[in-house]
Symmetry: C2
């Protein structure tokens, strides 16, 4: 098998391997949560725990064994092999605030990108015993259950949907706090299901759509492919912020996404 | 044993019986979620599912067998035996919007009141495999783990806490939408972990405090006793709204609750 070409067979093999890795990180996280753990403040004023570091170290070392020609980008350590055709993106703990406080809605995100597009995505939620995974042409799954997100039938049905939104600080950092404030006043059930729990709920259609701003590539890469493979719509705007790319994303049931884009005047 | 007097021994027995009932309702809910289920719109524009009705019917019938002299008040059916010293309050599904959309953060709430005070409280979260329960003088537990909520050490630590808030519509109905809007702008991690999931997170100290307005007695009765038995602080304002009593509550770690009362100028 040639590791640098894209085919459904190759992707299915990679996905099976990646799912195994998520089993390993889940075990690591579950064991770590039974003890006390250390955390520290990062320069950007977000917290990182020793669990974040351990999970990313484990994933990097296993990915390099399995896919020596692939690149890696992750939240806690620097980029590796950036000129590779395939690049894995890692968010070892998405929702570190939740993990730190033991709110069981954090998760681990892993994605494989090819030519600036996500081709595999995995979101593991240890606190809910749910692994969302899928790939281009392969479909999307919650554990082994195939996901087919149903769209709402008409715009009137949108008002009984739940709309999920990331934390207000992301919208402030993106220079668009009014979008968050307007979402909070929408005629719909709005919840701040932040981080990958919110993403997972949108992927499976439990929430109608999610609006999440000022993300890193490792926050959003898995969602990009999972939402679309589940039959949802994915709209993402890329902004340059200094040397970093930031992503503002809206995704979920197609009619709900379109309604949000119109109602919030996002273009 | 005399069923109308209050003692720790009596309460412990009642609690053990109530925990068994929650096992029955959890099984009922889990089975029901494997199928499609019907829902309808109530006069107050909230949804009710056939699962809500089945759970409340089951609890009422079992409570009447176990405690024939006790009163019962619940969300879906009318009050029974209201002059009794002991009254059970039932919210069969707290978070019906979540249940309806299969967001796994709904739960069943059961509480026993004596002389307008909660003496037993139970919150079962089937999607998280967690039963919070406790009673006056007995302590509070998550499954079998005793809960001892630690307070923050000083006001500076408040800003790394998560603050949970109920849906904005409750604040609108209470005539205080500005309180919700001000909470959203607090210098802290704010999440709309609504309904009993948010309450459970505050009871165990995963979130620093929760602000939840315009509640019914069956929404808040279990939280009243569980928060306090876990070492937290509980502040609740009762309002008359027509013939109904509504409750606006703030609860969690004592310093965080006090800071919220001051910062939001709630008196």
């Amino acid at each position: 098998m040639h590791q640098d070409s894209l085919s459904e067979v190759v992707l299915s093999t990679y996905l099976a391997q990646a799912r195994e890795l998520m089993g390993e990180t889940r075990e690591l996280i579950t064991r770590a949560l039974q003890r006390e753990f250390r955390f520290s403040l990062k320069p950007d004023e977000s917290f990182v725990t020793e669990i974040d570091m351990d999970v990313e170290r484990t994933l990097r070392s296993r990915l390099k064994q399995l896919f020596p020609s692939h690149g890696i980008v992750g939240e806690e350590f620097s980029q590796e092999n950036t000129s590779a055709a395939f690049t894995w993106s890692i968010d070892p703990i998405d929702g570190t605030t939740s993990l730190r406080h033991r709110v069981p809605l954090f998760g681990t995100i892993l994605a494989l990108r090819y030519d600036a597009t996500s081709v595999l995505g995995l979101i593991d939620l240890p606190g809910l015993d749910r692994l969302y995974s899928g790939g281009m042409g392969i479909g999307a799954f919650c554990n082994d259950r195939p996901l087919r997100t149903m769209d709402v039938e008409n715009d009137a049905d949108i008002f009984s949907e739940i709309i999920s939104v990331g934390g207000r600080s992301g919208f402030v950092k993106a220079g668009m706090p009014h979008i968050f404030d307007n979402i909070m006043k929408l005629r719909a059930h709005v919840r701040t299901y932040s981080d990958c729990f919110g993403h997972a709920m949108a992927i499976e259609g439990a929430v109608g759509a999610m609006v999440d701003f000022d993300l890193n590539i490792w926050d959003i890469a898995a969602t990009e492919i999972l939402v679309q493979e589940a039959g949802g719509k994915y709209v993402c705007f890329k902004r340059a912020d200094g040397e970093t790319d930031r992503y503002d994303a809206i995704f979920g049931k197609p009619r709900v996404v379109d309604w949000l884009l119109r109602t919030l005047a996002i273009t």
